[in-house]
Amino acid sequence: MRYWIGLAAIGIAAALPIFLDPMGYPIRVLTLAMLFAALGQAWNIVGGLANQISLGHAAFFGLGAYTSTLLLINFGISPWLGMVAGAAVASLAAFLLSFPTMRLSGHYFALATLAFSEVLRVIATSWSEVTGGPVGLSVPFSPDSFVQLQFRSTLPYYYIILAALVLVSVVFLLIRESALGYRLRAVKENVEAAEVIGVDTTRVKIIAAVISAALTAMLGTLYAQFMYFFDPDAVFGIVAISVRAAIVTILGGAGTIAGPIIGAFFIIPVEELANSYLSSRTAGLSQLAFGLALIGIILIEPRGILVLIKEGTARLRKGGKL
């Protein structure tokens, strides 16, 4: 039953642009929403399935963006190949980072991942000769080239990013229903018990981290190509990327396939709206609202909208009030 909903959603998403101006603002917002939904889905693999709250996914996102763009600028390599290179770099980083963080969880794990992405951000900001420093990098202009992953209209980006979202979601689903998924669940619930009944918890965590990192890096490349420009704060930023990836998923329901999608399609359009209304007056007002909303939601229901809905409908079904 759920698969039909999924297929219908993809169908709707594929057909939607027919009604939209390909150069307009709405389609841009939708594309961004899908990008962050995919980002959340990649985070979901580690944060949702294994309950390892990572506050450092920006590290992989930024590594992807910088790797592919630097390869493009310096060697003219196509962003599609750059994407693969970026994924490889991020995978290596995740692999190496796994070891010191293996026994960490909760606050400590969040802290370690946060520190990692912050360090990368600082390095990117200060290593001007290589990364362009705080000014950032621009993707060299070559309009309407599939090979160069650059288009004048938003429409091709929309479909490429839709495909990415579907890909990441499929990977999430495959993992969850596979032996790896069961083992991750065991690790999430009780690491000791999992070990004792034969789950190699170290290996399982590493595999999940590497897959999540590779997918995140891929999205970083897509972001760079879509936005044409980025700076260290945009791709390595705690709030811009890491927190957003986590919140989008948690809000919609961590561990579920629909969670990041629901969360992203709620948060991103609202944010964009707030940005256009508020931020023209004072920088930071929309972000402030975001922070306040975050706190508000934490205080009301830390487990996310989906849980609220599920429990709400369950209560309705049992007959009577919400």
């Binding site: 709250i53 506050l55 980072l97 070891f99 010191p100 963080t101 293996m102 026994r103 960490l104 969880s105 909760g106 606050h107 400590y108 969040a110 802290l111 370690a112 946060l114 520190a115 990692f116 912050e118 360090v119 600082v122 390095i123 200060s126 290593w127 705690i238 709030v239 927190v243 986590a246 919140i247 948690i250 961590a254 004072t282 920088a283 930071g284 007002l285 972000q287 402030l288 975001f290 922070g291 306040l292 975050l294 706190i295 934490i298 205080l299 830390p302």
Partner: protein, 286 residues
């Protein structure tokens, strides 16, 4: 000789790092949560001292006391309205409560103060004392001495005053503390206020040689957390050791490595400590 100079400079700045980080470690020690917004209170402390200087003509070293008082009160308020509510929630909620706080404070500051960079000018800003071949920068020294004073004050408070001991009791066993007549909630409020107040104090004290800006907190995030992990989360003595160590490492590494690598070195220290000895050099396991 350059090495000795670097070590001295490192110790001086390390003293301040110690004070800044002791606030973070105190909050963890008493409440078991990592306050991801801690660096934002540093920024607020800097602003309070800045305005004290600009509007009242007070030297930041005096202003730092005002910073402490103001941010202490703010901290108590935050604890009562937000932190208290998530103490029994799963780590996910706790983490994002303080992350949300980070976002709110930073952007509120951006709106209230604008994004200009500001700095104070004091009479002694560029002076330095000469001790043999070593130069000791006066603002560094002043900051260090203030940190030393506040460190002693903190020690006296934690060990000799009733409140301090009650706080430590609450940290170790809240239920037992309650049974002894200690209001654990009140203790936690004071602890949080104290924690962010100390960090704010540290920020004010370094105002003479720092520019203040709503995003200045970001510069201290990795640093603060490195100090605290090095010294052991929850141990104030550890924050002192960690602060001095980080100060020296940072200062000495400027001699050998470009600035980009310095941060990497700091991070390697941080992650190694977290992996091998999460309880830190001094800290007690929690």
């Amino acid at each position: 000789m350059a090495f000795l100079q670097a070590v001295i400079d490192g110790l001086l700045i390390g003293g301040v790092y110690a004070v800044i980080s002791s606030g973070l470690t105190l909050v963890f020690g008493v409440m078991g949560i990592i306050n991801f917004a801690q660096a934002e209170f540093l920024m607020l402390g800097m602003f309070v001292a800045y305005f004290a200087w600009q509007l009242l003509g007070l030297d930041p070293l005096i202003g730092s006391l005002i910073s402490f008082a103001v941010i202490f009160c703010l901290g108590v308020l935050v604890q009562m309205t937000l932190i208290q509510r998530v103490l029994r929630a799963p780590p996910v909620a706790q983490i994002f409560a303080t992350v949300g706080l980070l976002i709110v404070i930073e952007n509120a500051a951006l709106i209230a103060f604008g994004s200009d960079f500001r700095s104070v000018s004091t009479s002694y800003q560029t002076s330095a004392l000469r001790v043999g071949p070593i130069f000791i920068s006066v603002p560094y020294l002043a900051a260090f001495l203030m940190s030393l004073l506040s460190g002693c004050a903190l020690w006296l408070f934690m060990n000799k005053s009733w409140y301090g001991r009650a706080m430590r009791a609450t940290a170790q066993d809240p239920m037992a503390a309650n049974l002894m007549g200690i209001d654990a909630d009140r203790m936690r409020q004071i602890a949080f206020g104290l924690g962010v107040g100390l960090t704010a104090f540290g920020g004010a004290v370094i105002l003479p040689y720092f520019t203040v800006h709503p995003t200045v907190g970001q510069q201290f995030v990795v640093l603060m957390f490195t100090v605290v992990v090095l010294g052991g989360l929850g141990s104030v003595a550890g924050a002192v050791v960690g602060g001095l160590t980080v100060g020296v490492i940072q200062s000495v590494s400027t001699l050998f490595f470009p600035i980009q690598l310095q941060n990497l070195i700091l991070f390697i220290v941080f992650i190694t400590m977290l992996a091998l000895r999460p309880t830190g050099l001094i800290g007690a396991a929690r």
